[in-house]
């Protein structure tokens, strides 16, 4: 197994600020916009963006929720891995709101497909956008593309993109991990 660094903590910082600015460009004061982090790994990115918007760009009253998609996934009983549920915490109705889904890596698009179904339990949004830190090209199973992307990556199937956050792994880093055994 080998790994190479895709983004270091400084680069991640720059990208987060750019993404925050792009969000402001489209949503101005966020009065009709809600941010939704996709569980389990999208919530760190969502929290970071929310705090940048709040502290550095003085956007007040950002509504931030977490959406768990476990029960909406299409691989229940099909994957070897047992699906474990996480907490959903959405204390607002998304009816007629602009929703921004936030996740760390966009790969097959199936998680986002599940999230599109799951969010319907909380109302009918006016529109839904997608923000991801890493967009893996050429690996989509579904016609889903991000509106905001941090970095585009070409990774082949055996490779895995791992996003570490200082909140849970002690560092802000993005790695490309090759899972094939070295000969």
């Amino acid at each position: 197994m080998s790994q190479k660094t895709l983004l270091n903590s400084k680069e991640i910082g720059i990208i987060l600020h750019r993404l925050a600015c792009q969000l402001i460009e489209n949503h101005l004061d966020f009065s009709n916009t809600v941010l939704v982090g996709i569980q389990p790994r999208g919530i760190y990115l969502a929290e970071r963006l929310a705090s940048i918007l709040r502290d550095e760009y003085e956007v007040k009253d950002i509504e931030l929720g977490y959406l768990d998609i476990t029960f909406f996934r299409d691989d229940f009983r099909r994957s070897e891995k047992i699906l474990e549920a996480n907490k959903t915490n959405i204390n607002f109705v998304v009816e007629n709101k602009k929703v921004v889904f936030i996740d760390d890596v966009l790969y097959t698009g199936r998680s986002i497909r599940a999230a599109l179904t799951a969010i319907q339990s909380f109302g009918r949004p006016e529109e839904i956008e997608l923000l991801v830190l890493i967009d893996r090209r050429f690996s989509r199973h579904l016609p889903i593309q991000p509106n905001y992307r941090g970095r585009q990556v070409d990774a082949i199937n055996e490779e895995r993109v791992k996003v570490n956050w200082s909140e849970n792994e002690g560092e802000d880093m993005v790695y490309l991990i090759n899972q094939e055994k070295d000969n």
């Binding site: 476990t70 009983r77 699906l83 907490k87 319907q120 909380f122």
Partner: protein
């Protein structure tokens, strides 16, 4: 742990402590789901579940059916009163006929103890025991413990007394297994005639004085007197039973601390508890019913995850 250690839920006796924790953690998520504006998830859209009730039931049957529908499973219902059981068909034949219609899971209530275990050895579907005679009623015990955990934060170390007709109660036995597994202290309380002879061998205390039992406990689970299972008289009269073992508001108020009152239903108001106790702030009877749906969703979801494609 993310997987149950069992393929069927036949009784609490067959579960490990980690299974119970997994069911509770999953139920937490489902409890959030059933409080959404749209209370349904599509997880089990390719699963068909048969509810076979060979004995009467209202809330358990409704609770299971609702749990199944909230998970998007296809549901078929069967009750013995309208079936070929009356024409002499055996249990295995009845169930195998139903399974030929491509059913993946069976939720069964049956008057005979061990019916679930018997069935699990003879048919291929996942079996959920929804009560077998006076033996076990595992989902009731799980929702009771879940409700205690929700109200008091933890089950371990809590003092729980089960009051009433222990002899004829499947709720009592499953509750004793579940509570002991989670590290609670358990006592049973009732007239001697309604306590099984070797009940102490399960590691529970016995108390025949209701006031002493209530002074000791944090939670009192009040059971109904199961007249339909009594072939002889176990106590002189209902009025005398109510005087000795019925909880009244006056009795509750005279205790040194506030205890939690539970009841698996159906309540005989004025017998095991009075109306003002059942409707008081200390009672979590309706929370138990709400939690029942979430816990049953968790059980069905986790068992369905183990059905191979």
């Amino acid at each position: 742990m993310s997987e149950l250690s069992v393929n069927h839920l036949l009784g609490i006796k067959y579960l490990k402590e980690e299974d119970i924790q997994l069911i509770f953690e999953t139920a937490d998520q489902f409890k959030e789901v059933i409080n959404r504006p749209i209370k349904k998830v599509p997880s089990l859209r390719d699963i068909t579940i048969a509810n076979l009730f060979f004995e009467n039931s209202t809330r358990t049957k409704l609770s299971f059916e609702l749990a199944e529908k909230r998970l998007s499973a296809d549901v078929i219902n069967f009750s013995a009163s309208q079936s070929s059981v009356k024409k002499g068909e055996t249990l295995i034949d009845t169930v195998n006929n139903i399974l030929s219609m491509k059913v993946d899971m069976v939720v069964m209530r049956h008057p005979n103890p061990g019916a679930g275990v018997f069935l699990s050895k003879n048919v291929s579907a996942s079996i959920v025991n929804a009560g077998d005679g006076a033996h076990e009623h595992p989902t009731q015990a799980l929702l009771d413990s879940y409700s205690i955990r929700e109200k008091l934060g933890d089950v371990a170390g809590k003092n729980v007394v089960i009051v009433g007709d222990i002899l004829h109660s499947r709720v009592a036995l499953s509750n004793i297994f579940a509570l002991k597994l989670q590290g609670a202290n358990v006592k049973v309380c009732g007239p001697k005639t309604l306590l099984p002879t070797y009940i102490e061998s399960l590691g529970v205390g016995v108390e025949t004085n209701l006031r002493k039992a209530l002074e000791w406990c944090d939670v009192a689970n009040m059971l109904r007197v199961q007249n339909e299972r009594m072939d002889i008289s176990y106590f002189p009269s209902t009025r005398e039973y109510a005087q000795q073992y019925g909880v009244t508001k006056a009795l509750l108020d005279s205790l040194s601390k506030e205890i939690v009152i539970m009841h698996p239903g159906p309540i005989n108001r004025g017998v095991e508890i009075t109306s003002d106790v059942a409707d008081s702030k200390q009672s979590i009877i309706l929370n138990q019913v709400e939690n029942g749906v979430a816990v049953r969703m968790a059980v069905i979801y986790l068992l369905a995850a183990k059905i191979k494609k």
